[in-house]
Point group: C2
Amino acid sequence: MASRNRGNPLALAVLVCLSERPMHPYEVSTVLRQRAKHESVRLNYGSLYAVVGALERRGLIVAKETERAGRLPERTIYDVTDAGLVEMHEWLSDLLSTPVKDYPSLEAALSFLAALPPDEVVDLLGERARRLEFELAHVSATRELVERHRLPRLFWVESEFQMVLRRAELGYVRQLRDEIARGQLEGIEWWRTVHEHPDRPPPDPFVDPVATAEQLASPTDHA
Amino acid sequence: MASRNRGNPLALAVLVCLSERPMHPYEVSTVLRQRAKHESVRLNYGSLYAVVGALERRGLIVAKETERAGRLPERTIYDVTDAGLVEMHEWLSDLLSTPVKDYPSLEAALSFLAALPPDEVVDLLGERARRLEFELAHVSATRELVERHRLPRLFWVESEFQMVLRRAELGYVRQLRDEIARGQLEGIEWWRTVHEHPDRPPPDPFVDPVATAEQLASPTDHA
DNA sequence: GCTGGAGTACTCTGCTCAAAGTACTCCAGT
DNA sequence: ACTGGAGTACTTTGAGCAGAGTACTCCAGC
């Protein structure tokens, strides 16, 4: 009963919307956008109609009626089923209670730091820090606007969380940038040498050459 | 020259590996696993051979030679091209310098907090906090192992960053849980009422009913 | 009265990508 | 000699999904 892959969280968004009242898919998309949920859940029409179809096949929602205004395309109004309400409840509970491995793009980039020369990395991280500051300023500006509309915090906790993550990222980026700039990052001599002499065979990256022998002697899986 | 979508970061990982020395795809996958990069970049064979094929079509890598050991499948050894090195450089620079919107699953879940009753949410967030603590302990244990092998920090900054994010998440989750438990989260009365009387039409969620009128009067886009 | 842009409500197309499968080798154990 | 499990090196498959496209309406402006 743990977190078997449930796929696109947009399907959860659809269940939540339909649990309020029956809607047609396009209305779901406008409601989500009005509430700025498309900042937290990837939303586009291709996926929307795909997940609605899938939810219907799984019996979690049902087509209630179809109407037509003029010669515009037909609108199919869906309603959530009891099974759908159960699934929504379980899915949300799972997401809240169980951390899953996300793959933030910065983590990937940091994995390959050594492929770029250190001085370039200093500049690039500085650039990122500046952009993060700008973004944070922008987000808190719009948040103030929302607050002035008196929409209770309950409805924008996700943007609060977003800012927490962004601030943590900014802190780390700044710190790492400074450490590289000041030559304090462990391994920096190796890093510099490799990029200054791309032709020469790279020297040993290990901090303590004695340890290398140990390392090779005992092929422990530290992977 | 900005961040046009470059697709799967696994392709970047391949470029980085091949920039060290020519390899066949399977060797790329074992190298990435040895260095624990599969913690930061989604890695599986289906995608690996797909991205290698795409890189070849785009002229960023070339098949150098193919060998065969016994009657095992043929191994195609690839090498990076000059264009590939340029692409690697640009891609990495982009990733480092430009923050992009990731969609962490907890952010999606928090977007729909109000769909679950508050007391359940308190329990679920408590559960998550406990699991995060467990994970953090686990990660710092393996990190110590890596340190004892004297592998310089330069090669595990990504796991450092991962821990920074996890700790920030833990802090926020704990705080939010406590605020809900203590009834301090703005909007909690509405939240409780809605779940205690699912039949009754929901009351106005706005903090200050007077503001609602203003809100309706000036349809500013706060989306 | 006609053009052009914003909005409505989807549909189509083709790529991506994860999981599982395939087909072999090498070796340890019995 | 034979079975079985771990490892090697890919290939196949089909669902998922993003972006672009379609076909209409409504309205403002000249």
